[in-house]
């Protein structure tokens, strides 16, 4: 009588195999990066709430909204990056829908952040802002993000937001041409860097190595931190000037 030799143990079903997931340290890095950036953005947003409430200044309005929208954009970027890290996301219907949703929402809020950034740079040069300007920005962001989400292409999202930033820069140069306060000050450069690093962060939707991501994350977080420290310093002085000794 032959011995019973058991066959190979069946592995997990094929659709579960794709859920092996990324190394935990990669997820941890992404999570820490998100928490730092989103935390700083929300701190800036809430710290400027009082002075906006009192002044109703449009420049402060757009300035605050830059950081609110970046916080939301980074949240959905984290979701998309997490889904990208699954070995075989396309085999799973739910993650694919989630990925599409994260692309749409990251695109929408990222576009709004860039548009608000452009408005914050330009608002001084606008004599009278249209009452519907803000709603128009939402409309533009919504339409563009829907188009990108239907394509399910992070490259298209990257290209779209680069184009929006380029248009904003062009309008800025046209509006400030020949004026005394034209050109790039430290603030304008900081705002630009925020937008550029957000666009670079979209590369995370592609599988770029962590060795390239980490330095980008550190610099990007540093920029947000520098803005937060300036906001805190400016608002904590309470308008009081130091008296000479």
């Amino acid at each position: 009588m032959g011995q019973f030799i058991p066959g190979p143990m069946p592995g997990p079903p094929e659709f579960i195999q794709g859920l092996r997931g990324p190394p935990l340290e990669f997820l941890a890095i992404e999570l820490v990066y998100f928490l730092v950036v989103a935390g700083l953005c929300l701190l800036i947003y809430f710290k400027t709430k009082e002075i906006y409430r009192i002044s109703q200044h449009r420049g402060i309005f757009y300035f605050r909204n830059i950081f609110l929208f970046f916080a939301l954009a980074y949240l959905f970027r984290l979701m998309g990056v997490g889904l990208i890290m699954l070995d075989d996301p396309v085999a799973l219907e739910i993650p694919r829908m989630l990925y599409q949703a994260s692309l749409f929402l990251a695109g929408y809020f990222g576009t709004m952040a860039i548009l608000c950034l452009a408005m914050a740079m330009l608002i001084r040069n606008v004599k009278k802002e249209s009452k519907n300007a803000y709603y128009a920005l939402h409309g533009i962001a919504l339409v563009l993000s829907l188009l990108i989400a239907t394509e399910r292409s992070s490259s298209a999202l990257l290209a779209m937001q680069t184009a929006i930033l380029a248009c904003a820069l062009l309008i800025f140069f046209i509006k400030t041409r020949g004026k005394k306060a034209s050109g790039f000050s430290q603030n304008k450069i900081t705002y630009l860097l925020l937008a550029i690093f957000w666009i670079i962060n979209l590369l995370a939707f592609s599988r770029i190595p962590m060795e390239l991501k980490i330095p980008l994350y550190i610099i990007s977080a540093g920029i947000f931190l520098s803005i937060f420290l300036r906001v805190r310093k400016r608002l904590s002085t309470n308008g009081k000037k130091k008296k000479p000794a």
Binding site: G59, N187, V231
Partner: protein, 91 residues
């Protein structure tokens, strides 16, 4: 030649004039002391009213007087802070 005032400075001056007039002034003297065109004044006045910085009161003879709201007082108190912030971030 005096430097042209920006929007924030004009609002500050309008509210300051109201406060210094014992928080009650008629619109015509306010226009005169603010030293801007009547069209600009009407726009600023409407904006200040819509945003809740000032309110209108009427005396027994039906004459209109302008006074500051709490928000208007807060604006004056925080003006330097707001101006410094706007200047710092070039808004």
């Amino acid at each position: 030649m005096a430097k042209k005032r920006n929007r924030l400075e004009i609002i500050y001056e309008m509210l300051k004039i109201v406060r210094e007039s014992h928080n009650s002034i008629r619109p015509t003297p306010l226009l005169r002391y603010t030293n801007i065109s009547s069209q600009s004044f009407s726009e600023y006045y409407r904006e200040l009213k819509e945003k809740g910085f000032i309110r209108e009161e009427f005396d027994t003879k039906g004459r209109k007087f302008v006074s500051l709201t709490d928000k208007g007082f807060q604006f004056l108190d925080k003006y330097n802070l707001i101006r410094g912030f706007i200047k710092e971030f070039e808004l």
